[in-house]
Structure formats: structure tokens, C-alpha cells
């Protein structure tokens, strides 16, 4: 499945280039324009916050007295708390919920109606094991018996867009996230910038020839090798160094910012990207989580600035993009003695895109008062995460085979996206 561009595609690309007068230098001179069998839906970007992010300090229920009782040291001060500086107070959203101050940059997409928050959602699994919860959630299954592949991959496998781009699905930043495991080719890469053989050009070319020959065999590794070679070929047509984000958007100087910037470029380049996944680690804040500043605040800085920059850069494309931010579960309502929080249950999801029911806190807030908590003192999960994702798959990705993406689950339509 190496995909050298056909002469026809090349000419199509040239024609497109002629129409758009200022064809930026970083773009391939030819866009992927595969014959489509089904209309492609939004480009999907899944951000997974690994380690169980503390939803209650991301989007703070500042109207809950119980929140402040449970978190005397790491709680974020109310928006109207006059003795706290503005930078250490909740950024109010609707009089009851508000952003952690580090997420202030997200006000812009929020006010534009491009950002939705589904609070108190989660999975039925209550093992509070990171590894079990992540595996089940990324597979999109109820228990161990479900398919081993990931939900994103099953979506791609069950919805043929005729797109044979080698970068239909990529995992950026490290290994391939579990949600992308499966039959549809997906490639892990640290960065698109250096996705090629380095060193002497003639020697690299000889190695590429050898690699093509070595991976002709019809087995799994042969296939993956061919796909990888296809990705190298495709990306070699881009010049990421010359990419300039729109409107002066500034991505944070971090792995995350770097990855987002590359996803933005690939979408604009129409290189055939349908699904990308980026992992953000470090959210298992048992110790020293901190409040308005500290460990988690730094993670949120990166997240907020990155998403805000992506939104600004991709503003003209918002109608064709769906970003999901998720985590395997939430954290205990009550802080522990180490300025941290232990494993909890209910979490939150964020959705960024032009067709989300934005500027609202969605879902059913179960409350934090006496008798309302789940298990050992956790936020309850009132919305199954699959309700959110299934609606996204159905409405924004055009895929009706939701039962294949989330087997043995009957999702409830709630109007998260339109």
C-alpha cells in the first residue's frame, strides 16, 4: 500500500495550486484527493490525559460548598474570592462552574461556542486501575471480552472513505495509543519533521530500495513496513519548518504544542489525515498536585495554551474538525495529606470543534454533597463516555456503524454535537 501519487493526482494538485494564488511553501504541491466512496467526516483528534486527570480542579464546581470542604489546600478559590489574586481564582463560566486559572486561554474557544465540557462522565468500570480503565476505554468495550482493537481504528475500519493515504491515522509523540490498534494502518511517530532515514542521500535512497524489497511479503510486518514507507514518501513532500500558523497563533514550546502544530499542518495540507491521537502524561497526581500553581497547573498550562493555539490556527477549519479530550477516570473528591488526590471515578471530557454544543457545561451534575458521592468518596459518572463518542462517530464522522465501534452498547443521544 505504498501510495505514490498518480500522474492524474499530480496534475490535479497542480491545478489546485494554480487556483490558490498564494500556495504556502510548506504544503505539498499536490494534495491527496482520493476518489471517495463515503463523504469523509471531521478530522478527529483524540487527546488522552494519562494517569486520571483531576476533573474537579480542571473545571471547578465553585458553587459547591462541599468542594471547598473537601479541598482546604488544593481547592481553587472562588471567582469572587477577594483576598486571592485573580490568577489564583476560578475563571467563572456559568455562575457554578469555572476554569482552573491555567485554562484561561480556553475562554476564547468557549465564547466562540467551539468548546463543550461534559462533566461527571466516565466508564462503568470502577476498578480504579489506570491500566485496566485505559485499556477498556481505548478499546471502547465493556469488559475483557470485547474486541482487542481500539475504538478509533474500528471506526476507520467500519467506514470506508476510499482514503488510502498512508497517514489516514497517526499517533504523535511516542508509541501508538491503544485506541488506534487494529486493522487500519496507523503509524506512531515522534514528529513528522524527521520521519525519514537520515544521513547521506544516496545511501538513504539505497536503503529505501532495500526496505521496499524486504517488505513485499504478505504478512503483518511486511504490510506495516510498506505503510511506513508510504508515510515517509508522503511526508517528504511537506516542509514543516516553513509552516506559519494562522493569525499569529503561538503553540506552547512543548511536545504537546509541537504535536498539535503538526496535526494542524497535516489537516491543512489535505494529506489524508482522518484520525490523530496524542498522549499527555503526568496526570496521576497522588503527590504534590498543587492548586492554582504547582504540578497540575503546569500540565493545564500546556493543555490550555495548546488547545487555544490550535483553535486560533484552525479557526477557518473548525467546521471540519472534532477534538476530544479524555482521561481514564477522575480523582477522589477529598484531597489527601500529600497535597494530592487518589484515584476516583467520574471525570470530564472536552470537545472542541465547529459543531459542538459549545459554551455550555453538558451532562448531569450529580453534586458533591453528603450521600451523593460514589464509592469511597468519588464524583459519580452520570454520562457514559461512549454516549459522547458514539454521537461524535454518528453525527460528525458520518459513520452509522456505531454498534461496531462500541459493541454491545446502546448509546443515548444527548445533543453534544450537531
Amino acid at each position: 500500500m505504498t501510495t505514490p501519487l498518480t500522474r492524474r493526482q499530480f496534475l490535479q494538485g497542480m491545478a489546485a495550486a494554480a487556483v490558490i494564488t498564494a500556495w504556502p511553501g510548506w504544503m505539498p504541491r499536490l494534495a491527496f484527493a482520493p476518489p471517495q466512496t463515503n463523504p469523509r467526516g471531521d478530522a478527529l483528534l483524540v487527546l488522552f490525559l494519562r494517569g486520571a486527570a483531576d476533573a474537579l480542579n480542571m473545571v471547578v464546581p465553585h458553587g459547591e460548598e462541599a468542594y471547598y470542604r473537601a479541598r482546604p489546600t488544593i481547592g481553587i478559590a472562588r471567582p469572587d474570592h477577594t483576598s486571592a489574586g485573580e490568577d489564583s481564582r476560578v475563571v467563572d463560566l456559568d455562575g457554578f462552574f469555572g476554569f482552573h486559572p491555567a485554562l484561561r486561554p480556553l475562554l476564547e474557544p468557549w465564547q466562540a461556542g467551539h468548546l463543550a465540557i461534559i462533566h461527571a462522565c466516565g466508564a462503568p468500570d470502577d476498578s480504579r486501575s489506570h491500566f485496566k480503565a485505559m485499556a477498556l476505554m481505548e478499546r471502547g468495550v465493556e469488559d475483557e471480552r470485547g474486541p482487542a482493537s481500539g475504538w478509533v481504528n474500528r471506526h476507520l475500519a467500519s467506514y470506508n472513505t476510499g482514503n488510502n493515504s498512508p497517514i489516514r491515522a497517526i499517533g504523535l509523540g511516542g508509541g501508538l495509543p491503544r485506541s488506534l490498534y487494529g486493522a487500519v494502518p496507523a503509524t506512531a511517530m515522534r514528529s513528522i519533521v524527521d520521519f525519514h532515514l537520515s544521513g547521506d542521500e544516496r545511501r538513504a535512497a539505497q536503503m529505501m530500495t532495500m526496505l521496499r524489497g524486504l517488505h513485499q511479503t504478505e504478512n503483518e510486518l511486511g504490510q506495516i513496513g510498506r505503510e511506513t514507507l508510504g508515510v515517509i514518501d508522503t511526508l517528504s513532500q511537506l516542509d514543516p519548518a516553513a509552516y506559519i500558523p494562522r493569525g499569529g497563533a503561538v503553540y506552547p514550546d512543548s511536545d504537546f504544542g509541537y504535536s498539535l502544530r503538526q496535526v494542524a499542518m497535516l489537516i491543512k495540507a489535505e494529506a489524508g489525515l482522518e484520525a490523530a491521537a496524542i498522549d499527555l502524561g503526568g496526570w496521576d497526581t497522588h503527590f504534590g498536585q498543587g492548586g492554582s500553581v504547582g504540578l497540575m497547573a503546569r500540565l493545564l498550562d500546556d493543555l490550555g495554551q495548546g488547545l487555544a493555539a490550535f483553535h486560533a490556527d484552525m479557526l477557518d477549519y473548525m467546521g471540519q474538525i472534532s477534538v476530544v479530550v479524555m482521561s481514564e477516570f477522575g480523582r477522589r473528591v477529598h484531597e489527601n495529606a500529600s497535597l494530592g488526590t487518589d484515584h476516583g471515578h467520574g471525570t470530564l471530557m472536552m470537545m472542541l470543534g465547529g459543531h459542538v454544543t459549545g459554551g455550555k457545561i453538558l451532562g448531569n451534575w450529580p453534586g458533591l454533597g453528603d450521600g451523593l458521592l460514589f464509592g469511597p468518596g468519588d464524583l459519580a459518572a452520570t454520562t457514559d463516555y461512549r454516549d459522547v463518542l458514539a454521537e461524535l462517530v454518528r453525527v460528525r464522522l458520518n459513520n452509522t456503524a456505531v454498534d461496531q465501534v462500541f459493541p454491545s452498547y446502546q448509546p443515548i443521544r444527548q445533543g453534544f454535537v450537531y
Binding site: R50, G51, D126, S127, R128, S129, H130, F131, K132, E144, A148, G171, G174, G175, L176, Y181, A186, T187, A188, M189, R190, H196, L197, S198, G199, R203, A204, Q206, M207, T209, M210, L211, R212, G213, L214, H215, Q216, T217, N219, E220, L221, G222, I224, G225, T228, I232, G281, G282, D284, H286, F287, E335, N336, A337, S338, G340, D342, H343, G375, P376
Partner: protein, 495 residues
């Protein structure tokens, strides 16, 4: 045995002379038998044990292949399991320049973290490549993964070298209960999983959960969230010294919760640190632990999915755990002798993880390396930097997790074959080319060296047809290109 009698006597002399010579790195290298280079091709003969040998080493060297041919795989395995009797001074000597990492944590803490991490990773890589105790080193790697600790968290980088020495290496083929208790009192582990912050006023559940889920029982063993919270309370006060003797284990009675706790159906109270020790021993000898470890050990050496592919072996290995009261060597003997050595037909596939892929290239070519930063950076690009897997589950041990990151391997193959890593060299005698009359003959010899047999016909054609006319006419020009091709070939990615 790479020691000549003369070198052996020199070594004894060195010991007698004491520390006077200890700054003399070139002497270590000389005594270590290096530099290594290929001086003869392997004998062309059928090696039915090659695939098995490939599973229990980080890539079989010619010496190991010859030894197995001579005494048989089973006898060789028994030698390896009795690792204490294998002289490993050549590898020890290679590590001498990096003996900073033998120091206590409070001393290491005064150093720049990078100055400690680099030699620490070098030592890991060099042990894999140069140790004669290959089965033992594989067991060390297994337990390092099982009790994974990321040195990227806080000051863990200063604590982990002692954990590697006093927990993992000391008990790798010993008794699991000793290993688990050593880990439970290891400052690196307690710090990594926040137990130093586990105090009576607010217990921290992190270590308590993972010691059951990842180190012993496994996630579906039937324990509850209440059990996790109870074990956290039992382990309150298991901590790390802060000021004086920083980085040593301490039991802080003042923050220990000595009230009644119900854990796994039993009541614990009043014994202080003893309650925790009882709990840890209970976990270490639990039948569920035996089954969990059996599956992981079989996964390491034989098959990605042991419960599907080797259910009887899982049961027998778990039974050996129970009967021997946690003797790791007894379990491993079953896995290797009853499982691997006696496996009928082709072995279930095992994909080399990055550490194995790199070590096998370095061992089999063979390569003279210091294991320094350039190679460590490549391991990171491949996804398995030593001691840096962020989460306590450790790097996965199934093909699915690694298959889709081939490019860094290809890049490594090219750069290694062309000697482009500083601190890493492979060389051979051009006399090796004398008897060879064609690129095909050279390719076959290299395949036999690196794969234990010929490359498949499709692969042979792919490599030979890519050679330039100049390379085809001068074998010394073809050698690097063909070597790169074999190292990148699908066949070399499996073990």
C-alpha cells in the same frame, strides 16, 4: 572463556595491588577482553536450537552458539541458571568506569542528574551486551520491568541505582518473597509510588494499589477498593529518610495507623511495621500471585498470550511457585526446560522489543561499544529508554505494542552498519572476504551470523538487487549496505 591464563594472573595481581591502579581505564578494557571483532564466520551447519537460544539471550553470540552445539541446550540452560558459577569479570570490568552508580543515594544526589543517569543507563546496556550470564540478565530485565520505576520523577534518579543493585539484581533468581519485601522497602519504589507520603491522617493509595495490581495478584484477582484503602493504611509510615542519611528506608511510627484494618478478610493491627511485613509476605505467597507471575514469565520467553497458547505451562509454573514457596529459579526452570526447550514445532512468535533489537545487533555483529548517549537516544526513539517507562506497569511485552514504530530501527540499522555512532564501532578482518566470490556469498555469511540461517529468498533478492555496481564488484564496499539491510529485515525483528 575470553581470559587467557596470563590475563587471569594479571587480574589476580590487580586485586592484590589494590586501588593504586583503579583509575586506569585502558587496563580494564584490555582485561575485559576487548575490543571485540569478528574474526571467523560461524560454521554452516544446522542449528535447531538457534531459535530457542535467541529467546534466552539478548541475541546469541558465536561462543554461545558453539557452547549449545557442544553440550546441548538443556545443559547450557542449567549452566545459565546456576549463574553464580559463571565468571562475569569481563563484563564487570567494562562497567568499572561507571562505578559512580555504586554509591549511596545521598552521595549521588550531590551530582548533576545527567552525570548519574548516563552511566546508569550505560551499565544496563553493557550488561545486556557483554554479560556471559545471559539468562540472569534477562531475568534482571524482566524484574526491572515488573517493578518498573521511572527515574524521570523527582529525585528518583538518585534512588534507582540502589534499587537496581539491592532489589532487582540481588533477588532476580532468588525468592519472590525476598524480592517483593526488598522492593516494598526500596526508597526508589516508595518515592516513585508516593508511599513516603502515605500517612495516617490521609493515606495515599498509590503504592498499595499497584503492589496488588501490578506486582502480585493482578487486577482481576477479586480484591476491592476497600482492600486497597486498608493496605494503604497498613503501609502508612513506610517511608524514606529525608535529611540525615537521605534516601534510606525508614519506618516512621509517628504517622503509622495502628488501628484495626480489615484486609483480604483478615484483621491487622498493633504490630507496627510488622503488619506491613505480614501483608507483603501474604501477597508474595498468594496462589494468585504465582499465576500472575507465571503468565508474565512465559510471556517473556515463549508467547505473547500464554493463557491461550500454553495454558498447561501456566498451570505448572504457577504450581511450581506454590510448591517452592516462591523460588524464581524453580519457575524459570519450568518455563525454559519444560516449556521452551520441549516446545513441539515452531515457537510462537515474539517480536524483539527495542532493548532486545539493539542488544542483538550489538552482540551478534559483534560491536565494541560504550553504550553511551547516542545509543541511549536511539533506544528512546524506538520507545524503550532504560528506566524511563513513565507508568508503573512497565514496558509492554507483546508485539502489538511495538510493531508500528519501525523507522527508528531502520535508521539505527543504517547508522550502526556504517559506524556512525560515537563510542560504538564494529570491525572485522577483511580476510573474512577472501574465500567469498560474490555478494550473494557475503550476504549468506552475514545472514548466518545475524539470523542463524539464510535470509528468505525475497529478502536476498531485495538486498542484492539494490547494490550498486561498485558494491557488487568490491565486497568490502558491499558489507555495510548488506549488514544494514539484514538488521532492518523483518526476519531480524523477531527473536
Amino acid at each position: 572463556m575470553p581470559f587467557s591464563r596470563r590475563e587471569f594472573l594479571q587480574l589476580l595481581g590487580l586485586g592484590a595491588a589494590g586501588a593504586a591502579l583503579s583509575g586506569c581505564a585502558p587496563l580494564y578494557t584490555r582485561l575485559a577482553g576487548g575490543p571485540v571483532s569478528l574474526t571467523a564466520w560461524p560454521d554452516w551447519q544446522a542449528e535447531p536450537d538457534y531459535p530457542r537460544l535467541n529467546r534466552v539471550t539478548f541475541g546469541p553470540t558465536l561462543a554461545e552458539r558453539a557452547a549449545v552445539q557442544e553440550i546441548g541446550f538443556a545443559a547450557w540452560l542449567e549452566e545459565q541458571l546456576a549463574y553464580e558459577t559463571i565468571d562475569d569479570r569481563p563484563a564487570d570490568l567494562r562497567l568499572r568506569p561507571y562505578d559512580l552508580i555504586e554509591q549511596d543515594a545521598d552521595y549521588l544526589l550531590m551530582w548533576d542528574p545527567e552525570e548519574v543517569q548516563r552511566p546508569f543507563k550505560q551499565a544496563a546496556l553493557l550488561r545486556r551486551v557483554y554479560s556471559q550470564r545471559q539468562v540472569y540478565e534477562m531475568a534482571v530485565h524482566f524484574w526491572t520491568d515488573h517493578f518498573n520505576i521511572a527515574i524521570t520523577k523527582g529525585d528518583v534518579w538518585a534512588l534507582k541505582p540502589a534499587d537496581e543493585r539491592q532489589v532487582i539484581r540481588r533477588h532476580a533468581l532468588g525468592n519472590f518473597a525476598d524480592l517483593l519485601l526488598a522492593s516494598a522497602t526500596s526508597p526508589a519504589m516508595l518515592y516513585y509510588l508516593d508511599n513516603q507520603a502515605n500517612v495516617k491522617s490521609w493515606p495515599n493509595e498509590n503504592y498499595a494499589r499497584e503492589v496488588m495490581e501490578l506486582h502480585t495478584l493482578g487486577v482481576d484477582a477479586g480484591y476491592t477498593q476497600a482492600d486497597v484503602m486498608a493496605l494503604a493504611r497498613i503501609l502508612t509510615g513506610w517511608s524514606v529518610k529525608e535529611r540525615w542519611m537521605w534516601g534510606q528506608f525508614t519506618f516512621d511510627e509517628s504517622v503509622h495507623d495502628d488501628d484495626d484494618k480489615e484486609w483480604l478478610g483478615e484483621t491487622f493491627a498493633g504490630e507496627g511495621q510488622g503488619d506491613g511485613e505480614t501483608a507483603i509476605r501474604h501477597l508474595a505467597t498468594h496462589p494468585q500471585t504465582g499465576r500472575f507471575l507465571a503468565i508474565k514469565l512465559i510471556r517473556r520467553f515463549l508467547a505473547d498470550w500464554p493463557e491461550r497458547d500454553a495454558p498447561e505451562l501456566v498451570a505448572k509454573t504457577a504450581a511450581a511457585f506454590n510448591q517452592s514457596h516462591g523460588d524464581i529459579r524453580a519457575m524459570l526452570r519450568l518455563v525454559l526446560l519444560d516449556g521452551l526447550a520441549a516446545w513441539p514445532g515452531p515457537l510462537p512468535p515474539k517480536f524483539k522489543r527495542p532493548a532486545e533489537f539493539m542488544a542483538s545487533a550489538l552482540r551478534q555483529l559483534p560491536v565494541e561499544t560504550d553504550g553511551g548517549r547516542p545509543l541511549q537516544a536511539e533506544l528512546a526513539a524506538m520507545g524503550q529508554a532504560d528506566y524511563e517507562w513513565p507508568t508503573p506497569d512497565g514496558p509492554p511485552d507483546v508485539a502489538d505494542a511495538w510493531l508500528r514504530n519501525l523507522l527508528p530501527r531502520w535508521r539505527f540499522a543504517v547508522k550502526l552498519a556504517h559506524n556512525e555512532y560515537q563510542g560504538t564501532r564494529w570491525r572485522w578482518s577483511d580476510a573474512l572476504l577472501d574465500g567469498l566470490d560474490s555478494p550473494a556469498a557475503l550476504l549468506d555469511q552475514l545472514s548466518h551470523l545475524l539470523l542463524g540461517g539464510p535470509l528468505d529468498e525475497n529478502g536476498r533478492q531485495a538486498l542484492l538487487s539494490a547494490l550498486t555496481p561498485a558494491q557488487s564488484n568490491d565486497l568490502s564496499l558491499a558489507a555495510a549496505a548488506l549488514t544494514a539491510g539484514i538488521l532492518a529485515a523483518p526476519a531480524f525483528q523477531w527473536r
